[in-house]
Symmetry: C2
Subunit: 314 residues, 2 copies
């Protein structure tokens, strides 16, 4: 990485210290949530921008037509079954079985999903939310099977990306594209509205190669129950992001989220893209001895996306 | 137990063989679901009786007033904290912690809950549903904490009560009284409507002292995923029984049910009473070498309840 071209990266002061000895500590966020002023040519409505700024997430529906959804779900099925010749290094399997839970570097294993990642409905919105050109920090296909889908405990993605990947500031947003219907009982994304405004400096140092276990069950970098409880009460309760196939959930990098397990017969799948501002490209980790591998954090090719308009299929 | 007084118990032919070597097998239920003809003096509405017969469960709301609910929830809190001097033999704790998950023989540890068990709103309805006088086969307080509430996989209670407790026929009903609000995300009771009509003869013999592990995580006597999937599709999907504190969920002994885990801050608690018809008292287990202990299956004191009308508090 040539830092000469990004003078803003020459200073990498740690604005969000975490994984410290002693107690968990809370501090106010130092960055905007919404980095653009809304105007008539914004890619989302004013009420949507306000909802995102206030709650740290935004659910958008009916963005894709039936042909586009068919193409995406069929492509996802092929990838999950190994049809994309995905190398083992880019796969995560369920703790108790061989079922594929995650395909990493999704944009590199599929032309269709690369096109989706660049779509104006995702990347265009991300540019607006972050007030900058964007690149993919991470991309993946998540698959949560029926009957045995495991829970994922509350966490802030930013806390991990800052500590273990070296992401300097809160200027990233995730977009989750639902590839199955996601109702209340098959493990929908749960969020703590407003939690994006608080940085939780987690207690405890990062173990070596933490990512090898944290992707299955995160144990370091998670907030205390009392803290989650307090933030949830402040927000008037937990929010749940549910919807039909094709629903897109944008959530800010510091919004606390998690999901329950799923004993129902209905599996859950989604395509997940993390957009980071070009001005916020990763540096050395702030609280880990070595950065996580490239499939988790794009360190080598932060290439600005040119958002593409139009349908995904001809 | 003096079988002279119950000549119906002299024949204990096994109408529902289970825990057999080889494959799981399905058969039609041989007993009615609703054992009474509805009439104007029934304790539930005609539509409720029909819903129960068709779906295998019934949710009833707003049965108790604020004073009654306050008394019940305060009593439950005391019991959970050990204030009722509950012996360890009647407690089940969470797999990963010391938190109390279940208090068995609830009616014996609490006068208030004994009164509730005998209440016309519960026992009176149970008499109607079962077309007989009733006794308590089992009673317990369930507590599912926030953040770490564990899932409970799909199962038919009758399958276990028949195999391990010797309950001859499908003539029992459970009543779950919610002691906390129970929404979609804190582990509500999930049910497969219509599944009460099918007996699933489960594959595999019962291990010795199976109940010592099955109460935390049931591994024997559970249906195959494909079977649950098919029954759920027949029903048009899974049902969820949610409600405010005081909601009562009646579910037939053979209705498939389970619950997801709960990462939300909101705990769940309920008082759980199993009413069995006096004519259906337990015999020797049909598929286990020894009966389960008395706290799980009342073998010694099948005393007919006299339903009590009026409020729980003065």
């Amino acid at each position: 990485m040539n830092i000469q071209t990004r003078p803003d990266m020459l200073t990498t002061q740690d604005e969000y210290p975490t994984r410290l000895p002693g107690e968990e500590r809370l501090s106010r966020r130092k960055d905007p949530v919404l980095w653009s002023e809304w105007s008539d040519d914004a890619p989302i409505a004013k009420a949507e921008a306000e909802h995102y700024a206030e709650n740290g997430y935004l659910v958008r529906r009916d963005l894709f037509d039936a042909d586009e959804l068919k193409m995406l779900t069929e492509t996802a099925d092929l990838l999950r079954e190994g049809g994309g010749d995905v190398p083992d290094a880019d796969l995560i399997r369920e703790p108790d079985s061989d079922a594929v839970r995650t395909v990493f570097r999704l944009d590199q294993h599929s032309e269709a999903f690369r096109r989706l990642a660049c779509d104006h409905r995702l990347a265009g919105v991300a540019e607006f939310l972050l007030g900058d050109r964007v690149y993919l920090h991470q991309s993946r296909l998540n698959y949560k099977p029926g009957f045995a889908g495991k829970e994922f405990y509350w966490h802030s993605d930013f806390e991990t990306w800052h500590a273990e990947d070296g992401m300097p500031r809160m200027r990233a947003v995730s977009a989750s594209v639902l590839l199955t219907p996601n109702g209340p009982h098959n493990g929908p994304l749960l969020l703590v509205p407003g939690s994006q405004g608080v940085f939780i400096s987690c207690a405890g140092e990062t173990p070596k190669d933490n990512h090898e276990t944290s992707l299955k069950e995160q144990k370091v970098g998670v907030p205390q129950p009392g803290t989650i409880d307090r933030l949830a009460r402040d927000a008037g309760g937990i929010a749940s992001a549910e919807g039909d196939t094709g629903t897109v959930i944008f959530f800010e990098c510091n919004t606390l989220h998690g999901s329950n397990g799923n004993i129902t017969p209905d599996p859950r799948a989604n395509a997940f893209f993390v957009y980071n501002a070009m001005s916020n490209a990763v540096t050395a980790p702030f609280a880990a001895s070595a950065p996580r591998p490239d499939f988790l954090a794009n360190r080598e090719t932060p290439e600005a996306i040119r958002p593409i308009s139009g349908r995904l299929v001809d």
